[in-house]
């Protein structure tokens, strides 16, 4: 009956792909069957002094082998625990959660990922069937960028200028004079604000994947809301739930 499920799954791979950034493959069973780009899963810690789920985006879906790939950065206690798990260890996971990106086929697209917002763009770039420019922003150390090259032209921006354009993703877009009908983006809120403004100015539609601290992850606790322009149908106030109604929203819907 559940659209999503919580279960303990096997880890088939968990490797550090850049300093502090890990790539984990899990045997996800039916979760992998229905997973869409832009959706996420809740990962739970084995140490039960950490109770809440850690939302992690789905980076790749391997439907043939019913596996999901998660790419995450170690920032705190939970991700630190995950990073220490090895092949054949298990982890509790719930998902897929939220609504992913709406695939607007045929439109010329820019896919933008900033920092740890990059992983969900990989499955999107695989599934999206159109002309694609892929813009990836990093502080310094790059990761996953090589893997994107199969799916479209990749532009990199680094804050320190060590690779690609010096600056942020918008600097890279401007530097390469990229244009599009639609933007798909995931990354830190200041980046998304900038993209929203850019999209508005250029009359481009944009789908943005937002982030907020979560408790339930399924829309029940109202912990993870974002401000919306219109009164939301569910909440009857100007709040939408990022976990349930998002994490992806059209830029025009939300206030950042």
């Amino acid at each position: 009956m559940a659209s999503a499920d919580k279960k303990r799954v096997l880890i088939t791979e968990n490797t550090e792909i850049a300093q502090g950034v890990f790539s984990m493959w899990i045997d996800a069973g039916n979760m992998a069957q229905s997973a869409k780009p832009g959706q996420f899963v809740s990962l739970f810690c084995n140490d039960k002094s950490y109770l809440l789920p850690r939302p992690i985006s789905i980076c790749e879906v391997d439907r043939d082998n019913l596996r999901l790939r998660l790419v995450y950065r170690v920032v705190g206690n939970g991700t630190k625990e995950f990073s220490k798990l090895i092949k054949n260890n298990t982890v509790e996971v719930m998902g897929p959660l939220g609504n992913g990106f709406t695939l607007e086929e045929g439109k010329k697209a820019i896919l933008i990922g900033g920092g740890i917002g990059i992983p969900p763009m990989l499955e999107l770039s695989k599934q999206l069937n159109c002309e694609k420019h892929i813009v990836l922003g990093y502080r310094d150390i790059t990761f996953l960028n090589k893997e994107f090259e199969t799916y479209g032209k990749v532009y990199v921006a680094t804050e320190d200028g060590s690779v690609g354009t010096k600056g942020n993703v918008l600097n890279a877009i401007l530097a390469n004079s990229l244009t599009a009908d639609i933007i798909y983006a995931c990354g830190p809120t200041p980046m998304l604000s900038g993209i929203k403004e850019f999209a508005l100015k250029n009359g481009v539609k944009a789908q943005l994947s937002l982030e907020e601290r979560m408790a339930c992850g399924i829309g029940a606790c109202l912990g993870c809301v974002c401000k919306t322009k219109e009164t939301d149908h569910h909440s009857n106030v100007n709040n939408k739930r990022i976990c349930k109604d998002g994490p992806v929203f059209y830029a025009s819907e939300v206030e950042l």
């Binding site: 009956m1 559940a2 659209s3 999503a4 499920d5 919580k6 739970f44 039960k48 002094s49 950490y50 109770l51 809440l52 789920p53 719930m94 907020e212 601290r213 979560m214 408790a215 339930c216 992850g217 399924i218 829309g219 029940a220 606790c221 109202l222 912990g223 993870c224 809301v225 974002c226 569910h234 909440s235 009857n236 106030v237 100007n238 709040n239 349930k244």
Partner: protein
């Protein structure tokens, strides 16, 4: 084996409900298990008009618990009554509606509007630590507790449950005040006011600075308060605070709770309530307890 309990004249198929605010109106969790398995669904606090709640971040993790400062966001009683009550009525479970307000008049308005609705009990939240007006302010002074209970009792058609705050010196005083004013039952505990600081940003983690602490961390305090109140008043108690499994629920029941509510645990396991119900049945089987009512308050 009998797991049904009676509280304020209402019979529940089992003693397990949801803690208000952790289960919405059940819509999201209905995708995970059949709500008809529950003794009752207790819904998120509802006010006369829609409330937008607090700015985010609204939740933070703590050791063995969590802080929340949702600020009682809710769509207001009209949307709730038209949408959520009919949804819940499809299930074979009782409905307990949690009511919030900023003023006594607000509370009265909701209780009056609910009087003719098809719901089983009203739970009056006078213990929310996350709103500036109302909420906890009504729940920390026995005179206020007595006054608002009396006002609502006059207007309510359903039995009323007063939900008490643990942020008090002596919770039995509040319990006695509610009982004296005619409350049909008591719910306890609501959350304990807490704070978390992000030492790297040197800032509060919650936009609201403080939030309500819930989860297994607070269970020993909750069990103690249920025990104290059970030995101070005659009216029945719905016990809650950190229930993660059947063992936890049984602690509350043995301390004197007639029913229990599962809150934060829902976030960790969407099947938590179902697991608690099954675990209680298993305990009764293993220990040869024919009737759950034998266990209520059995530890003195």
């Amino acid at each position: 084996m009998n797991t049904s309990v009676k509280l304020a004249g209402v019979t529940f198929k089992n003693p397990v409900t949801t803690a208000s605010g952790t289960f919405g109106s059940g819509i999201e969790y209905s995708e995970y298990f059949d709500l008809s398995r529950l003794g009752a669904v207790t819904t998120k606090g509802v006010s006369n008009v829609a409330w937008a709640g607090n700015p985010t971040p609204r939740v933070a993790e703590t050791y063995g618990g969590m802080l929340n400062a949702i600020g009682l966001q809710n769509p207001g009683m009209n949307v709730f009554i038209n949408r959520d009550i009919p949804f819940l009525r499809k299930y074979d479970t009782k409905i307990i509606v949690n009511v919030v307000g900023k003023t006594t008049e607000d509370y009265c308005e909701v209780v009056e509007r609910l009087a003719d609705c098809d719901v089983d009990l009203l739970e009056i939240n006078i213990s929310c630590p996350n709103v500036k007006e109302g909420g906890i302010a009504f729940g920390q002074d026995p005179k206020c507790v007595e006054a608002i209970t009396a006002q609502l009792k006059k207007r309510a058609k359903q039995p009323i449950i007063m939900k008490l705050s643990p942020n008090v010196t002596d919770i039995t005083e509040m319990a006695r005040a509610a009982e004296a004013a005619g409350a049909d039952a008591l719910s306890l505990i609501n959350t304990l006011t807490g704070m978390k600081i992000d030492i790297n940003r040197r800032a509060f983690l919650l936009a609201n600075k403080t939030g309500g602490l819930s989860g297994p961390a607070i269970k020993p305090i909750a069990v103690r308060m249920v025990y104290q109140v059970a030995n101070a008043v005659q009216i029945p108690i719905i016990g809650m605070g950190g229930i993660m499994n059947a063992e936890d629920a049984l602690e509350f029941i043995m301390a004197g709770a007639s029913m229990v509510a599962v809150g934060t645990a829902n976030f960790i396991n969407p099947n938590a309530t179902a697991t608690v119900i099954e675990g209680i049945e298993e305990y009764m089987k293993n220990h040869n307890i024919p009737d759950i009512n034998e266990l209520i308050g059995c530890v003195k």
